[in-house]
C-alpha cells in the first residue's frame, strides 16, 4: 500500500531501498529466563515475548520473521500462568506473595536525578543513534569501531542524571532514552565479548567460527556490565569433533 500511494509499481519501477538495522540481536536476547514458567532471576518477575531471551529456541540467529510471534504467544501463556501461580501461593510461607515492594529504578527516572538541569532527551536519543544506526559501526562490525562506540555511549550515562520532565510524554521519553542507552551498551559489550563470527554475531577481525566459544553470553548490570558465559548442550562434543577433524587433517 505505501508503494501504491507513492505511485510506484514495484514490479516495473526502480525505487530506493535502505537497510534498517538497530543492531541488537533482536529476536534472540532479552531478560534471561530461569525456568520453564518464564521466571527470571528476580523473584516474582516473569518475562515473555520480545522482552524474554530466546536463545534456547533461536540459537545464534534472529527469531525475526520466523519464531517470534509464536514465541510471544507461547511464552505469554507460560509466563502468565507462572506469574499467577506465584501471586497465589509462591510466597515463602506457601501463601500468596505479600512482600511490600518498593521501586528501585533510577535510570531516566526522578529517583536517579543528580542535577537540576532537565534531561535533554532529544539530544540524548540523537547521540545514541549516532553510534547505533550507522551501518559502518553496527552492521560491518570491527573491534575498534565497536569499542569506540561503546566508549562514547558509556560517556552518555551522565546525561541521564538530569531532572525528568513532569509531563507524561516527557517521562516516557526519558525512560525510553535510558532504555536505549542501556541496551546499546549491552549490545556492544556482548559484541566485543564474542571474538569470533557466529550466526548473526560478526567481527571483521575474527571472521571464523571458534568452537571454543560455543557458549551463550550472559550480561548483568547497568552501571557496570559484567559478562559471563553459559554452557550449551553439545558444546564439548562440537569442540572434540572439531579437534579430531583438525588432527586428522594434519
Amino acid at each position: 500500500m505505501p508503494l501504491e500511494r507513492a505511485g510506484i509499481d514495484p514490479f516495473k519501477d526502480k525505487f530506493p531501498l535502505t537497510l534498517r538495522y538497530e543492531g541488537t540481536m533482536r529476536g534472540t536476547g532479552g531478560l534471561r529466563l530461569a525456568g520453564e514458567d518464564c521466571r527470571t532471576t528476580v523473584a516474582g518477575l516473569y518475562a515473555a515475548g520480545d522482552a524474554a531471551s530466546r536463545e534456547r529456541v533461536m540459537g545464534a540467529v534472529s527469531g525475526g520473521g520466523a519464531y517470534n510471534a509464536s514465541w510471544a504467544i507461547c511464552s505469554g501463556c507460560w509466563s502468565g500462568r507462572g506469574a499467577a501461580r506465584h501471586a497465589l501461593g509462591a510466597g515463602k510461607s506457601g501463601g500468596p506473595d505479600r512482600r511490600a515492594l518498593k521501586p528501585v529504578g533510577r535510570h531516566g527516572l526522578e529517583a536517579g536525578r543528580e542535577t537540576d538541569a532537565p534531561i535533554d532527551t532529544t539530544a540524548l536519543v540523537g547521540d545514541i543513534q549516532r553510534d547505533v544506526l550507522p551501518l559502518n559501526i553496527n552492521f560491518y562490525r570491527s573491534e575498534s569501531g565497536v569499542a569506540g562506540a561503546l566508549g562514547r555511549l558509556d560517556a552518555l550515562r551522565e546525561a541521564l542524571g538530569g531532572s525528568v520532565p513532569g509531563t507524561v510524554q516527557g517521562r516516557v521519553r526519558a525512560r525510553e532514552a535510558a532504555g536505549m542507552l542501556t541496551v546499546a551498551r549491552w549490545m556492544y559489550t556482548a559484541a566485543l565479548a564474542r571474538k569470533e563470527t557466529r550466526g548473526l554475531a560478526a567481527l571483521t577481525e575474527y571472521p571464523a567460527l571458534d568452537p571454543r566459544q560455543t557458549h551463550r553470553l550472559i550480561l548483568s548490570g547497568i552501571d557496570g556490565i559484567a559478562v559471563g558465559t553459559e554452557r550449551v548442550p553439545h558444546a564439548e562434543e562440537l569442540g572434540r569433533a572439531d579437534g579430531q577433524a583438525k588432527g586428522e587433517a594434519s
Binding site: 500500500m1 505505501p2 508503494l3 500511494r5 507513492a6 510524554q169
Partner: protein
C-alpha cells in the same frame, strides 16, 4: 507520516488520538479537533487512518520526509479513507483484507509439493 487532519470531515470522536501507538496527536478540546502535536514520533503505521470513521486523515507513504498533500486532490483521487476501505473496516465494504488473502499456509504448499 501523518500529513492531513481534515477539519471539514472530522467529527471529533478522538479515536485517532487513542489508536495512535506513539501518541502523535493531542486533542484540541475547544476546536474538537485532533492536532498533530508530535509529528517526529509518527511511524507511518496507518493505524489512525484505519480507525477514523470519517475518512478525515491521510498518512503519506514517505516515512522520513515531509510530503505536500492537498485535501481536495486526495479526496478527488478517492484516497481519503482508502486504507480503511481496503482492509474492510468501513461500513458497506463487502469483504475484509483477511478474507481476500488467499495465501496458502505452508502445509498447503508442502501437500501440493508431495503430490507433484
Amino acid at each position: 507520516m501523518i500529513e492531513l487532519v481534515s477539519a471539514e470531515r472530522c467529527i471529533g470522536c478522538k479515536l485517532c488520538v487513542k489508536a495512535c501507538p506513539t501518541n502523535v496527536f493531542d486533542m484540541d478540546e475547544a476546536a474538537k479537533l485532533p492536532v498533530i502535536a508530535r509529528l517526529e514520533d509518527c511511524q507511518t503505521c496507518f493505524m489512525c487512518e484505519a480507525y477514523c470513521p470519517a475518512d478525515a486523515l491521510y498518512v503519506a507513504p514517505q516515512a522520513e520526509a515531509r510530503a505536500e498533500v492537498d485535501e481536495i486532490a486526495l479526496a478527488a483521487a478517492g484516497m481519503l479513507g482508502s486504507w480503511r476501505r481496503e482492509i474492510g473496516w468501513s461500513k458497506g465494504t463487502d469483504s475484509t483484507m483477511a478474507e481476500r488473502d488467499t495465501t496458502p499456509f505452508f502445509e498447503t504448499f508442502t501437500e501440493r509439493y508431495r503430490q507433484a
